[in-house]
Symmetry: C2
Subunit: 348 residues, 2 copies
Amino acid sequence: MNIGEIAKRAGVSRSTVSYALSGKRPVSEDTRRRIQRVVDELGYRPSASARALANGRTSTIGLVFPPAGNHYTGMQLDFIGSVVEAAAVYDYDVLLSPSGVDSDRSFQRLLGERRVDGAILMEIRLEDDRVDHLAALDFPSVAIGRTAHPEGGWWVGLDHTALVEACVHHLADLGHRRVAFVNRPEQLLRTGYESAHRGLDGFTKAAAERGLTVRTYCCGDDATSGQACVERILHDDPATTALVTLNEAALGGLYRGLAQAGRHVPRDFSLTGVVANRWAETVTPQLTAADVPAAAMGRLAVELLVERLDHPGAAPRHHLLTPPISLRASTGPAGTAPTIDAGPGTTP
Amino acid sequence: MNIGEIAKRAGVSRSTVSYALSGKRPVSEDTRRRIQRVVDELGYRPSASARALANGRTSTIGLVFPPAGNHYTGMQLDFIGSVVEAAAVYDYDVLLSPSGVDSDRSFQRLLGERRVDGAILMEIRLEDDRVDHLAALDFPSVAIGRTAHPEGGWWVGLDHTALVEACVHHLADLGHRRVAFVNRPEQLLRTGYESAHRGLDGFTKAAAERGLTVRTYCCGDDATSGQACVERILHDDPATTALVTLNEAALGGLYRGLAQAGRHVPRDFSLTGVVANRWAETVTPQLTAADVPAAAMGRLAVELLVERLDHPGAAPRHHLLTPPISLRASTGPAGTAPTIDAGPGTTP
DNA sequence: CTAGCTTCGCGAACCGGTTCGATGAAGCGA
DNA sequence: TCGCTTCATCGAACCGGTTCGCGAAGCTAG
């Protein structure tokens, strides 16, 4: 079931079979058909390894994302799905590599053993050794997210700063004066996780512009942490009337915490943030939020990578996305001073 | 940067380098060290394609799941994550293949071009041509889910029938007499999707045993459909006091529909079902449910596959899991007849 | 001193494709 | 009919590893 077998049965040489199948040199219509018939009869498909060895291309791209320790979020799933699907369009397979950092064994395999033609990196940090390393090697790669110095790089990113600013302005316009920010877990912030930092920057900047009284919190990526976070917020400043969040996994817990504190959304309390569409629509009332266009980002990343693979030396390109805020039902005008008697956890 | 280069610099032959690195034949400690030093200095790593071609093993396993058309669910993400992680332990990479059926191009690539040593299949149907095909080829594979005839196969599955039965009994024990079943989308049921069918079977069987009045529904995999589904349920039989669901993506919508109909959970209405842990804890009140042990299943699938790869001809093995129901807060005793005046959508 | 055994390393073949240069036949104008 | 081009095909080399068989030292024992 190898190319020699096909050649023998079709009565031609191996090279002729190769040319007939690849079309890289003309082959007479007659022999082409004869070869094709044998190929179809035997269901022959050329070995990917042999081809990869011969022409130096694996037709595979690597998708690099951190290991599951920190729970996968819905967004990551959307990225993975859209990358796989877009890659299929260009006849690429996708190899998954769970690597947080440059030195991971899995990452080394991908590069050192030349398993992939190019890579797409997720979960970018502001200072990201993986990005730096790949750039230094001039290895074809595209980041989903951007580092502190994205100039001259290939990436598709979300303007978290602008997005969170828009959220803050939206709340300020509605009259909210005391607003909390619910960020991703502290550990991610410490590691320099991009969205957490840029989101926080946007929050701080817009809050200052509008003269708001604010507090910022880190929150674990799960419902229980979200609930606890709301309790902390209302304990620290019971007069808080709104929050902005980047943490979609905690969203359900945030709602639960508010409900248990007797705050009605959106009458007593407004929520907004930057969240994947599917989550925003799952909670009740549905979340007014800047929807993360995860599927589009995955697709764009693949397109950039394919372009880079097809035209080595092409000038770096990127996409910075700023989706609009989808007005749903979780924000409303700040009412009179909230009723402080309602919530638990206000003990000094 | 190939093995010949290493050999030259270390002053030995290519084969010696190969043996020194693989350890498949003894090499004197002296030359082994000399080779290792050169390898370290140059950061040499053997090419995966060349190795794969030479010894016929790619050190890659394929993970086959249906394309995104039908939204990815959280469970799928957990499967993917745990499979990737478990595979890394055994030094396997994971290649993603979005294939619903046997004839998909992506599926053909995986097999025909020998890109992977083995495969793990997700989203199994009762009659699944992919499973049959792989079995006929004796290609090493493990299914996450089981077909109608799982005998002699390699798989790890969930006993949906027993799980849903347990849910029904739980509700019946609480005094519920009119119960609805919210299944996955109709299209999945029609295609023979395993969990939808077995879950439905369990529901029907247990309901008959307990003499319950029941209705069954199909529901799209999103919150909006869930909401609509609750409206239909309460319209069809306003006296319904409980439901069982397999549809985690619709869960938020189910809660929303109940809230809008004025039914309080769990006072007026009980919910339970088979759902991934993370979703059960996201909703308020948290869902009493049989938690799908997705991470464990992914891990077990990899372990079975590795065993099958290491011992060709080993007797088929499988794991059928039946996790217990986690009692949370979404079910309670059936009260007096529910207040019919509350809900909308009751117009004839 | 030599027969016999180990140890260590070498060269060559092989895995299954791709690609380049060469060759022979056919076509064509002079 | 000869020389020149064009076209279709072939053989061989190559990609970068692995693996098998063999032989040269070095050692031990008789």
